[in-house]
Symmetry: C2
DNA sequence: CTACGTGCAAAAGATTTGCATTCGA
DNA sequence: TCGAATGCAAATCTTTTGCACGTAG
C-alpha cells in the first residue's frame, strides 16, 4: 500500500503541474513530467547533478539545461524547495520535493574535527518561527512570503 | 569623535587579528591588515569583487586569490560573517564585519513585481531564536554553534 | 504551422589551484 | 635562511546562454 500511496501522490502532483502549466500557458512537455516523477521518487535532498546522473542511468535523455530550466518552473509552482546547505563550503544548490511536506527547517550537523564535512541533516519544525515572522511583518510593514532557518552544529559528546 | 571611535575600534580589531595569527602561527602580512581595515571602513555587506574593486581604486595591490584566502581566515577568526542572500538568484557570497555587532538576522525585501531584485536588506534580532536553538540542542543532543535565519518578502501596500 | 522547449556546446561568473617569486620570522 | 603567502593565470565547477532542431498546441 506504500506503493499505492506513492501512485496516488504521483498522480496528484502531476495534476498540480498540469494545472500550473496550463495557467502559465507553458507547454506540457514529457521532460517536465519525467523529471517531476524522478524527483518525487527520491527520498532525499538532491542537486542538479544528482538528478542528471539518475536520469542518465535510467536512459532518459534530458540535458542539464532542461533540468535547470525545469527546476525553475517547479520552484515557482511550489513543487520543490531550494536550499544552500553548508554555509562553510558548497556552492551547489540543493533541492527537495515539497508538495506533501509541511514547511520545516534544517540543522546541518558537521563531523567533529573537520568543520567542512556534513555528517547529517536534521529536519525540524518549531512553531515559534511563526511568531517571529508575524512580529517582523508588523514591525516593518512587510509581507513575508517565506523563510529559511539553518542551525549549524556538531553532535554533543556522550 | 566618530573618527576617534573608529580609530579605537580599528586598533582593537587589529589586535584581535594579531592575536589570532599568533595563536595559529600564521604570518603577519601587511595584506591581511590592509584588507581588514578596508572591511571595517565599509558600512555595508560586501562581496569579494566589491572588496577587490575598492582595493584597486585605492591602489593597494592585492590579488583576488589573496582576498579569498584572507576572508577564510577572517571567518575563522570571527571577524566577519558570511551570507548567501537572495535565495532565488545569486551565487555570490556576501560578507559583513561582525566583531562589534551583535548577532542579527536579515529580511530580504524584494521589489514588488520582479521576484528577483532585492530592494532592501533589513537587520533584526529576535530573542525567540535562542529558545529555538536551545530546544534543538536538547532534542537532538547537539551543540549548535551558529545559525542563519532569513525572511523573504515584499513591502506591504500602504 | 509557429513559437516554445530541448539538446548541445560554448560562455559566463565565482572560487580554487599551481607555480614562481617575495618576504616575514 | 626557508617555508608560508602572495600574485598571476589557468583550471574547475556550477549555472546560463545561443542557436539549430524538434514538437506541442
Amino acid at each position: 500500500m506504500q506503493t499505492k500511496l506513492k501512485e496516488t501522490q504521483l498522480s496528484i502532483i502531476k495534476e498540480v503541474l498540469r494545472q500550473y502549466l496550463q495557467k502559465k500557458k507553458f507547454r506540457n512537455t514529457p521532460e517536465r513530467y519525467t523529471i517531476l516523477e524522478e524527483i518525487y521518487a527520491m527520498d532525499r535532498h538532491f542537486n542538479v547533478d544528482d538528478l542528471y546522473i539518475i536520469m542518465m542511468e535510467k536512459k532518459y535523455h534530458v540535458s542539464k539545461a532542461t533540468i535547470y530550466n525545469t527546476i525553475e518552473i517547479f520552484l515557482d509552482a511550489g513543487l520543490i524547495r531550494k536550499h544552500q546547505f553548508g554555509e562553510k563550503t558548497q556552492i551547489t544548490s540543493s533541492y527537495e520535493k515539497s508538495y506533501f511536506d509541511k514547511q520545516h527547517d534544517h540543522v546541518i550537523v558537521y563531523k567533529k574535527g573537520s568543520e567542512k564535512e556534513i555528517s547529517e541533516i536534521i529536519e525540524f519544525c518549531d512553531p515559534r518561527i511563526q511568531g517571529i515572522k508575524e512580529a517582523i511583518e508588523k514591525a516593518f510593514g512587510l509581507d513575508i512570503e517565506s523563510h529559511s532557518l539553518y542551525f549549524y552544529g556538531t553532535k554533543r559528546d556522550a
